[in-house]
């Protein structure tokens, strides 16, 4: 009797243990599979699936298994601290590289680059390649550049005689302001999509930066000027009202310019009757325009169990991507591979506008400041209220600066005593 009960108890525990153990990543140890994590949810994930499928169809020695991982960065922290289930390959965003490198969590790409000699700086758009280079060591190989851009409604530009704005590729705030009083009720010059990215671009346009010698510089005269200038557009009633869906208003044909992302072109294209084109994000300066961009980068997190053979496999996969990532252009992104962006096929995609000449390529600006994520978070939280006049600019910038400084202090003291 007792034995029976004990048996049942043990069975129960075993079942529970199996269920819990099932939470682990069972594929990570497979020597014939490259486990590849990406944060690419939605359509992007589907395009990446296609690329991986195409690659696996070439019958490589080691196949790639693509795992779309929502909340990937949190999961990465967990697997790195336990050392179990670390993916063989992952896609990370450009602004994450300095942080991971500082914490010594990325393996450098030298073995991979040796295995496939075409995986080199010359074959990629410079800022995408450079985003993975810290103190001369290459930690990532880029997949793409995805950028803040500005779509325009061709019909509305014609209606309001504003086509000349596009002449020099630089739509200035002054040009936008010239529309004051000319628009019909319900029409607006520009929306507030990705406004914090637009503001981060203005910082570059005015020759400023978000850091100096590694210290954050958010509360500066340059950033204040940038906000004041863009605020004029809001104050003149030319920006879509606060809280309204400006993206949707562009699609419904009520907004001349929409400052959203390269990836939106597919969504805009599916709107019937929307006759649109793409150009650079508007600028507060007549001399310079910038499109704040980021980049998806292939990276290998530290993992002792990753065999040399697997690294060869990773190299082969990255080389395949370098040659074949035109598929990725369908997702609205700008592939980082020069071979792809210089191919005639790429010209069919709207975002090829940004690789037409050196000046355009240069305009795609990727922030690589170590604490950029904190700065971006502060911009996301406060910038709308500043541009809309809900919070005084000086007060807002002070709070933003302090927020970033406090977070950096907290992150630094944690890291220092770690011995890292």
């Amino acid at each position: 009797m007792l034995k029976k009960k004990l048996g049942a108890l043990i069975t129960g525990i075993a079942v529970a243990a199996t269920v819990l153990a099932g939470c682990g990543n069972s594929n990570a140890g497979d020597p014939k599979t490259i486990t590849f994590w990406t944060p690419l949810t939605g359509e992007d994930g589907a395009y990446m699936d296609n690329l991986v499928k195409e690659y696996n169809a070439t019958n490589p020695d080691i196949k790639v298994k693509h795992v779309v991982t929502a909340d990937m960065y949190t999961k990465i922290s967990t697997v790195l601290s336990s050392g179990k289930g670390v993916p063989d390959l992952a896609i990370i965003h450009a602004d994450r590289v300095p942080g991971y490198v500082k914490q010594n969590q990325l393996e450098n790409m030298s073995t991979v680059m040796q295995a496939q000699p075409e995986l080199k700086e010359d074959n990629y758009l410079p800022q995408a390649w450079g985003a993975g280079n810290i103190d001369g060591t290459q930690y990532t190989v880029p997949l793409d550049i995805h950028s803040n851009v500005m779509y325009y409604n061709k019909d509305l530009l014609k209606k309001y005689d504003a086509e000349s704005f596009l002449d020099d590729g630089n739509v200035t705030v002054d040009e936008l302001l010239s529309l004051k009083g000319k628009l019909a009720e319900g029409d607006f010059a520009v929306n507030d999509a990705l406004l914090s990215w637009v503001m981060l671009a203005q910082v570059q346009n005015l020759g400023g930066d978000i850091q100096q010698d590694g210290k954050p510089t958010v509360n500066t005269d340059i950033i204040k000027t940038a906000i004041e200038d863009v605020k004029q557009v809001n104050d003149a009633g030319l920006m879509t009202p606060f809280g309204e869906d400006g993206y949707l208003m562009f699609q419904s044909g009520n907004v001349l310019f929409s400052t959203d992302g390269t990836w939106s072109s597919t969504a805009h294209a599916s709107v019937e009757g929307l006759n649109f084109g793409v150009t650079n994000v508007y600028s507060v300066s007549p001399d310079k325009f910038t499109n704040r961009a980021s980049s998806h980068l292939f990276a290998m997190f530290n993992n002792e169990k990753r065999s040399d053979e697997k690294e060869q496999g990773v190299a082969a996969f990255l080389e395949f991507i370098r040659e074949n990532s035109i598929e990725w252009a369908k997702a609205g992104q700008i592939p980082a591979s020069k071979e792809v962006v210089e191919s005639p096929d790429f010209k069919n995609y709207m975002q090829s506008f940004f690789t037409t000449d050196e000046k355009e390529i240069e305009s795609l600006y990727i922030y690589t400041y170590e604490y950029y994520p904190y700065v971006a978070e502060a911009f996301d939280t406060y910038i709308n209220d500043l541009v809309r006049g809900n919070t005084p600019i000086d007060e807002g910038l002070q709070t933003m600066q302090k927020t970033v400084e406090d977070k950096i202090a907290e992150a630094n003291s944690g890291a220092k005593t770690d011995g890292k």
């Binding site: 007792l2 009960k5 004990l6 049942a8 108890l9 129960g12 525990i13 079942v15 529970a16 819990l20 909340d71 960065y73 949190t74 990465i76 922290s77 967990t78 790195l80 601290s81 602004d95 942080g99 914490q103 969590q105 009202p241 606060f242 809280g243 309204e244 869906d245 949707l248 208003m249 419904s252 604490y371 950029y372 994520p373 904190y374 971006a376 978070e377 939280t381 709308n384 209220d385 809900n390 919070t391 302090k402 927020t403 406090d406 977070k407 907290e410 992150a411 003291s413 944690g414 890291a415 005593t417 770690d418 890292k420």
Partner: protein
């Protein structure tokens, strides 16, 4: 005589105990430990004693102090605005439904209960559209010209309406069940004594469902303190962070972009836990004392 070892209880309790240990006890203990450290989630935690708590509670110039108190203020506001309706409305509905002449009770009950089964994110998307100025009912049918999510007090109204819509059903079912358990004779004898419906409600119904009332009150309050999904989806904390609740700050610090500040986030979470604990204990004490 040697007592026989009886493993049957362990068999029944065991699986739950294991899950409770793995998903509740260990994370809680580790969370409390983390609150005394500086930790970026991936390196080793670095013991700092009460430094995080000191910063949050007393360093008035610190961002974390401001975030904590702004978050706590907004969370308290949410609790005050949602808990009373989430108790009173379901109770009124349950009492109304218990009337003999009401028809289609099960149908009404289902209609009110189903929203609670919908995930908060899905519900929030629907309500964002309902309150959308161009597409929504508020703008097109009622002629509202306000962008609800970015103006107060409308931002709070959207959050509260969504919460009540989703939260009524659960409590209502509990009240319905407990009201149906009250002996019919009590009402009949009260009627003979000349008691009206209001007197019957306060003298018979309420005292009879005392325990379910305490339970729902405590649980609804604790749940409201943990609010996260509704403001995140409906207003993203705006305008001017007036709907940014504590859980949003905690999550952003621990799992936001950039290096994690998990120690500080854990300390905020522990403080929130303490607030919930104290308030729940008070509620239980006050309500129990009143009824005895």
């Amino acid at each position: 005589m040697k007592k026989k070892l009886n493993l049957a209880p362990a068999f029944f309790v065991g699986p739950h105990l294991i899950l409770f240990l793995v998903f509740v006890v260990i994370p809680t203990v580790y969370g409390i430990y983390a609150s005394f450290t500086q930790w970026n989630l991936s390196g080793a935690p670095n013991w700092v004693g009460f430094a995080n708590y000191h910063t949050i509670l007393f360093d008035t110039s610190s961002t974390f102090h401001n975030q904590f108190f702004n978050g706590l203020k907004n969370t308290l506001l949410f609790v005050l605005l949602t808990v009373p309706p989430l108790i009173i409305l379901p109770l009124m509905i349950a009492v109304a439904l218990s009337h003999k002449k009401v028809k289609g009770k099960t149908f009404i009950q289902s209609v009110l209960y189903v929203p609670g089964l919908i995930s908060i994110s899905a519900a929030a998307l629907i309500f964002t559209l309902i309150f959308n100025k161009q597409l929504g009912i508020t703008g097109n049918v009622f002629g509202s010209t306000v962008a609800w999510a970015t103006h107060q007090p409308y931002a709070w109204i959207t959050i509260i309406v969504l919460t009540i819509w989703g939260g009524i059903g659960g409590n209502m079912i509990i009240y319905r069940a407990s009201i149906s358990g009250v002996a019919e004779e009590l009402y009949e004898s009260a009627e003979l004594d000349g008691a009206g419906p209001i007197r019957k409600f306060f003298s018979i119904t309420l005292p009879s469902i005392n325990f379910p009332l305490i339970y729902t009150f405590v649980m609804t309050t604790a749940g409201a303190f943990n609010v996260f999904g509704q403001p995140l989806m409906m207003t993203d904390g705006g305008p001017q962070q007036s709907t940014a609740v504590l859980m949003m700050y905690i999550r952003q610090l621990a799992f936001g972009s950039g290096e994690s500040i998990a120690g500080m986030a854990s300390a905020m979470a522990v403080l929130l836990g303490l607030v919930i604990l104290v308030i729940s204990a008070l509620q239980y004490y006050v309500m129990n004392r009143n009824t005895n």
